[in-house]
Symmetry: C2
Subunit: 530 residues, 2 copies
Amino acid sequence: MRVSRVGRSGEMGNTTVVNDGRGSQGEAAHEAADDGHGAARGERVPLVVVSHRGPVRFDRDAGGTRRVERSGGGLVTALLATLPTLDRSRFDPIWLCAAATDEDRAVAAEQGTEPIEVDGVPCPLRLLAPDPEEHERFYASFSNPMLWFIQHELWGLATEPVIGRAEHDAYRHGYVPVNQHFADAVHTEIERRGARRPVVMVHDYHFYLVPGLLRSLHPDARLHTFVHVPWPQADAWRVLPAEVRGALLHGLLGNDVVGFHTHRYARNFLLSCQELLDMPIDLRDMVARLGDREIAATWSPLSVDLTRLEEEASRSPVPKRRREIVESRREHLLVRVDRSDPSKNIVRGFLAYDLLLERHPELRGRVTFLALIPPSRQDVPQYARYLLEIRETADAINERHGRDGWEPIDLRIEENFPLALAAYQEYDALLVNSVADGLNLVAKEGVALNERDGMLVLSENAGAYEELGAFSLAVNPFDIVQQADALHEAIITEPRRRRGLLTTARQVVEHNDPARWLDLQLEALERHTS
Amino acid sequence: MRVSRVGRSGEMGNTTVVNDGRGSQGEAAHEAADDGHGAARGERVPLVVVSHRGPVRFDRDAGGTRRVERSGGGLVTALLATLPTLDRSRFDPIWLCAAATDEDRAVAAEQGTEPIEVDGVPCPLRLLAPDPEEHERFYASFSNPMLWFIQHELWGLATEPVIGRAEHDAYRHGYVPVNQHFADAVHTEIERRGARRPVVMVHDYHFYLVPGLLRSLHPDARLHTFVHVPWPQADAWRVLPAEVRGALLHGLLGNDVVGFHTHRYARNFLLSCQELLDMPIDLRDMVARLGDREIAATWSPLSVDLTRLEEEASRSPVPKRRREIVESRREHLLVRVDRSDPSKNIVRGFLAYDLLLERHPELRGRVTFLALIPPSRQDVPQYARYLLEIRETADAINERHGRDGWEPIDLRIEENFPLALAAYQEYDALLVNSVADGLNLVAKEGVALNERDGMLVLSENAGAYEELGAFSLAVNPFDIVQQADALHEAIITEPRRRRGLLTTARQVVEHNDPARWLDLQLEALERHTS
């Protein structure tokens, strides 16, 4: 057996070498330890992690050799950062995720557990390849946009959504079978290991049904879901047919613990159980009661992997990008970094900047708004329209205020993480004005890397607000007057206050590291299942 | 002094005769009784009613004589129906409302209390004419659409609303001064009467600040607001700047009792106080605590005035309209009656009907959908767009399924209450599928008048659902598949079950009459202020 290793070489930590890739039936160590009824012999506890996106993607190079590349995104990055901190003498981890590439599907078809390593840490992986049509309905019709829009309260309910036959099918013949497929795979992994009281940690809105499906098979399992998006108030769920919203909630209630980024979401979740399912809840102990079971709602905001982030920020081509920014910048640099998702509120952010320039003509020519917008989900009509509106709004503002070679908004619609890292280091004000946002890692990454005592202007509807609100300028995402005022305040705030706020905010981000994030979840699970 | 009398003659109860109209300083009876400190002498308690729309409108006929005409609308009709039931030996009522016509403003300028009678019952009235520009901002910019859209959750938050300078002005220089103007007028009426412990009953979303303004002036006053629109969950209020939503809530918390149509809204109100103001609440006793005061949230759904409704339905031209319907109808008659308000969900209702015809070709040619849609607020862009979409959807469906002289949807975009009454009598199924709806009087009026054992298909998001849900076919307003199924079930349900449901539903409507609606509010006020 050869182990696939994914390390840090290459620009932005992408790819490296690899084995030739026929998957085995798992790590040798694990196979030796888990033959029998683990728990009875004081052995390692199986820890099954489930997420839609996996830690790596497989591919073949021109010569036909299998390659493996680390994936991106906040969820995967944070989970990978927890890997080295996991006590392997206690836990025997396995990560289940969906095949994303053709080569992923080939790996999945081999039915093995891939014995890969990421940054030198073993990361046992099993790729699953659900039926493509079911997966399409699951992913492109139900999870996105339906659940995403509900949880970020993006529907304009007067006319959207229309729950028609396609939407019913997307749930019944997409979300349900894919969840079943994953639950079956978790079951197989648990059975294979044989140990009692396995731990299963499911991630995000793709798999709300999985815990419910597992609970009936494994009454003693310790089940945890972490929800990475906002949990809206109960009425937002009324968009779905009663039996669908009921099934999703009951799926989650298969867990012992449901974790969120913030107290507000955890509370909304319990109130949803009360209002939509008529269940008793306790908002002091933060539990819902279902028969003789108690389900806890907890909160522990996702972390950023600071070590990795700082390393990436120091590597080529970030310093070059930074020099370019320094050479072209004006006196004040405003920055935003957001996918072109309607939840990110990019257009209102530009309108606020427009108002700032109108009210403070003295700033014209002295400030630049660098907006880094990786395009997102352009196959979804709402997203395509939104990106168009972003462009048009920026163009109109540049037309209105620009002069003598000064472009008020430097709009970059591109995926460019090195430039984002450079912009984090250089901003004077970072605008995060999301309409709704599970956490918002940009706020944390910016605070972690900034070197100019920059101010964070932060939406009160971003999950990060519970951690960083006190050390930022809070804004209502709908109120462009307040946002314009906050941008102005960010610019004129005196240096000592700026430094104090940034220092404290950074301490918060450092304190809540990936190890702590995982520990909080495992402790909660321990507390509520003992 | 001559008294203006508004009676029931004339088509649809409109207009009648009138005095020549110079207002006096109030009724003789009231003047005699209220000179001094009322309560100490066991006298009548002043009962000040505040609503934006008044019970009547003044006008001048061609000859220059002042005329008075009864107003329409559910709120005014219900309040007028409570007038004869009010114990005048206990209460001394006065109704304050906003001038709507030029002649109203002339009456307001006379500074008098108009001694009018409606249907033979004295209805002391004071018209107020706030500054026109302030009123425009108050009404057309802040109350509608801002509060209306928030409370019906109609905003597509990704892009709407943008709270800019105009919106801030609409609140600060519109809603605030108009509320102050009304609070001052209430204060004047209370002072003029001199009695202690006056009762003030404020209606609807136009006057959330009034109770707070009065509370500081009259600590002993018994203050009540009835909210006629839905009260959404706390997060819907986060659209407004924190200081604005805080001021609106604190305004309402000046009351002793805040009344709603449903338990769900009352609960949402208390949870809003907890979540947005961090106030202690008790969901068992349904109170919020503010310092040493307790504010109760109660619910008592608005009534329809059955006597009046039945009388109107028997009068010309309703029977003629009814004959026309009977002559032109097909086997099954579906009906809806709704203003062209996006909250009413007219387009999705048509899409559900389209699906019904597609799935049940046997119904083609045998069913007609009569949709009576009075146009609403066509100066508001969202409303104009929505009406266009209504027309286009109906046209497309008629084009797709119509044949041999059969028009699947008979769309009438017009104000035609006689036709609505005739349609109520004749429907086999009445569709009420609102996205959100404070109560929905159409459901109650339909049930009250129907003579064909018609079925009510009722949105679970309409306030009337708490009363009538058990006797109707419940639908999720977003789910057109379920709505199509419900329309089909309504058509095929066997007669005995149809009759049973209609009979019970009608009993509910009859039981909860206007006298009871008012009594419940006065009792709640008594209970929470003694």
